[in-house]
Amino acid sequence: MISATEAPAHGPGFLARKDLGALFALVRDDGRRLIGPTVRDGAVMLDELDGPDALPEGIRESQTPGRYRLEAGRPGRLFDHTVGPSSWKRWTFPPTVPVGTTRRDGAVVAFEPATPDAAPLAFLGVRACELAALAVQDRVLLGGPVADPDYAARRRSALVIAIQCTTAASTCFCTSMGTGPEVSDGADVVLTELDDGFVVTAGSRRGRELLERLPVRLATAEERDAAAGGVAAARAAVAANAGVAAPGLPSRLMAALDSPRWADVAERCLTCANCTLVCPTCFCTSVTQRSDLAGAETLSERTWDSCFTGSFAAVAGGNFRSRPQDRYRQWLTHKFATWVDQFGTFGCIGCGRCVTWCPAGIDVREELAAIAPPPRAVVTGMHLPAVTPAPDEAWLRPARVVATHRETANVTTLTLAWEGQVPGAGQFVMAGPPGFSAAPISVSRARRGAIEMTVRAAGPATAALTALGHGATVGVRGPLGRGWPLERMLDRNVIVVAGGIGLAPLRSLIEAIAAERERFRDVTVYLGARTPRDRLFVGELGAWSAAGIAVTETVDRAGADWLGRVGVVTHLFDHAERLPEGAVAAVCGPERMMEATVEVLRARGIPDERIFVTLERHMECGVGLCGHCQLGRFFVCRDGPVFSIAELGDAFGREGL
């Protein structure tokens, strides 16, 4: 990655404005597309530039909440503006990129990942806050267990020419977030504009080599002073703006999840998603499919999405964030609180785009001050350690259906021939038939050479999965996520509670225990189903009992032929005198059922640290890159889906999170 600013051997240089064309020519000679600011449709936009004439000469902006206008700036200056609605993520993380193609020719199915478009870029006019934004996205998209290959290719190739701010908009608050206005690191070349040219320094070897090829002379002391004075003026201007009391903000904000202000802001918020799309760090995406009419070829594309849309946190049969106040709270708490837990920095870099480009003029600074008012604030800088890119995750690979078993009217177990890593109990895979989006499916049984997925037909994609026959090909990725903590259950009593399809991920746990039964103490399985006809794995219950696992069943509604217990699954505990000593519980079912079960287990003396649940959320990527499944400080796909209640804390069972 890019190193800290290096002082050139002879101090800062000076590049005359008339020689800026030479920089454009050099960059083009190097085979790069040059992206920089230009005026389009009444705003300073970042577009591909032909030459210095395209830069916004003598232009300044007036920016206030919900309002943006161009004005006359200092004559001749090319960078007298601050930041417009577009950000560099349009080039490092474009709005739509292909991720892969599925081709079907008869029974032959091929999944081909897309090749990143690696045409090298040069960014001219990157501000300090925007360098911080790039570093934040580096941590999100390159710093996790799985790196985004498309982002990695674009980002690594980009030459970054920064510009020091010498003005500020009223919406700027970089000094609050510790990201500016002074450029510190992350740039190859740093420019500071004066009336007749630029004071230039190199920030990397690549930058120094570029400067050596330009008509740069040593800057005079007056020029250096003028440059420093310009940046100081910008700092003074930002400091005079309203800001954000960043120190301690995450804990203050998370303590205010029930603030009445969320409902108040929801009256004004249009949930139009503009704030998230102009934000240079927001990274949430969805994957969509486009097929030809015959269904022979399907292109999957990744598109910018937003936590403000209605479908963002929706799953089959429900939506975790249906209310506008839930969506605003998700966005604000992610930017200013849970982002810190996940990535070690704020998700906000203080550029003010979300303030200016909110059509309703909602100002995050004002909302934060109302929701999480500051104590006596001491502003400190943002710390951005270097990022180590992780190995790239492959795209879908084919897996063949080798057996199917109808469990109930709408639940089917598919057996897939499986190569590679054997999923652990409670892990999941992303799976979908060719031409469909992949859905998160828990693995209900895993052994070398084959895995089983037990799928309920809840929507068209899962219906298509359950309809697959022997020999069909499925696109899969995985195993993914963190499964059941078997090691925590060794030499302990184990309680397993399943509701409906929730038994699928628990079956792999029960079988793992049965395989080494002597390593566990009493194991009790409580099963709940809606009706006797909705019971899963009926033929296997005897084998579990034979392995020394106590199985108790109940159904919500019984028919005449049911002789067993009737009632919700938590009532089964009423029949148990007391739960076994020191037990560890594993629970899976509808979220309301899990909440009720956890309450009962707690009341019976099992501490939160030993109660584990597995959560269902909207998932698109399965590796913590798309943002859909966020729950407080977790991505359910990457950090879960199995969590202890102690880990989840207040996030468990809270509406709208």
């Binding site: 449709d41 009444g42 004004r268 503009n274 969509t288 499919q289 269904g295 910018w304 209605g310």
Partner: protein, 268 residues
């Protein structure tokens, strides 16, 4: 395997949405290979009264005859899909519900007694159950193709119910509300058009109708704060989807204000 039987029919409408299907010139032959087009008056003289596996319905119900016909068509259609602003919200002709129907009819036709029309123009879904909707005036060819493709494959068609703003920002257009103070209805309007109007510096006029969670009061307040006259903002809702429930109140207020000041033409 027999191709599914496709019908295309119309009620009160301009035929523009049907033309969107005809305009899919590059794909039309491919579509005809996948489905059997048995009823499509714009394209073929072959007629069929059904049954249809898929029936595309354009237009709103604005005569007593139409109110009867749609009930029979629903019986004939396994899947009934409404196409366009008229069929999904009532269309521009639904503005009659905000006016005196008899007075309008008398002012336009020399023999109003020969005209048999309802006092309302209502969406198809007010009369029969509808399986899916393609919005817009006219519908978007990409959405139509996506709907047909997904339906043939059996997957859920991608017809997002989010705001126009997302498409506008992805396209890299400058927000006309923030940069120019234009009254744009994009934040409360369903996407699907590709955000065409803002790309040409014009505000959205909601021809795709309301998105999910359309905060109309919030947008009205914002547009007024940004310098628009309240009556102008309201009148903007009195267009192609005025009868859609989230818009109807603002549309009625806008029309009333326009009438009070001597009508649209007089004010301009």
């Amino acid at each position: 395997m027999a191709r599914p039987r496709l019908g295309v029919v119309k009620f009160a409408s301009c035929d523009g949405c049907q033309l969107t299907l005809l305009d899919l010139e590059d794909q039309l032959l491919g579509i005809a290979e996948q489905v059997e087009i048995v009823e499509f008056a714009e394209a073929t003289s072959a007629r069929s009264a059904g049954p249809y596996e898929l029936l595309l319905v354009e237009g709103s119900v604005s005569t007593p005859e139409q109110a009867e016909a749609i009930v029979e068509l629903r019986r004939q259609a396994a899947k009934l899909v409404t196409i366009g602003a008229c069929a999904t919200t009532g269309g521009i002709q639904a503005l009659r519900v905000f006016a005196d129907h008899d007075a309008w009819r008398a002012s336009i036709y020399p023999h109003p007694e020969w005209i048999e029309s309802l006092a309302t123009a209502t969406p198809i879904a007010d009369h029969v159950p509808v399986d899916a909707e393609l919005r817009g005036c006219p519908i978007d060819p990409g959405q139509l193709l996506e709907f047909l493709t997904a339906t043939l494959l059996g997957r859920r068609p991608r017809l997002p119910d989010e705001a126009v703003c997302l498409a506008c920002k992805r396209a890299g257009s400058v927000c006309v509300v923030v940069a120019h103070g234009e009254p744009c209805l994009g934040p409360v309007t369903r996407t699907g058009c590709g955000a065409i109007c803002p790309a040409f510096g014009r505000g959205c006029y909601a021809c795709f109708g309301p998105r999910e969670t359309a905060n109309v009061p919030g947008l009205r307040r914002s547009l007024v704060v940004l310098g628009n006259a309240p009556a102008d903002v309201d009148e903007r809702f009195a267009g192609f989807t005025a009868l859609a429930p989230p818009f109807a109140r603002a549309a009625a207020a806008g029309l009333a204000a326009a009438a009070a000041t001597g009508g649209d033409d007089a004010r301009r």
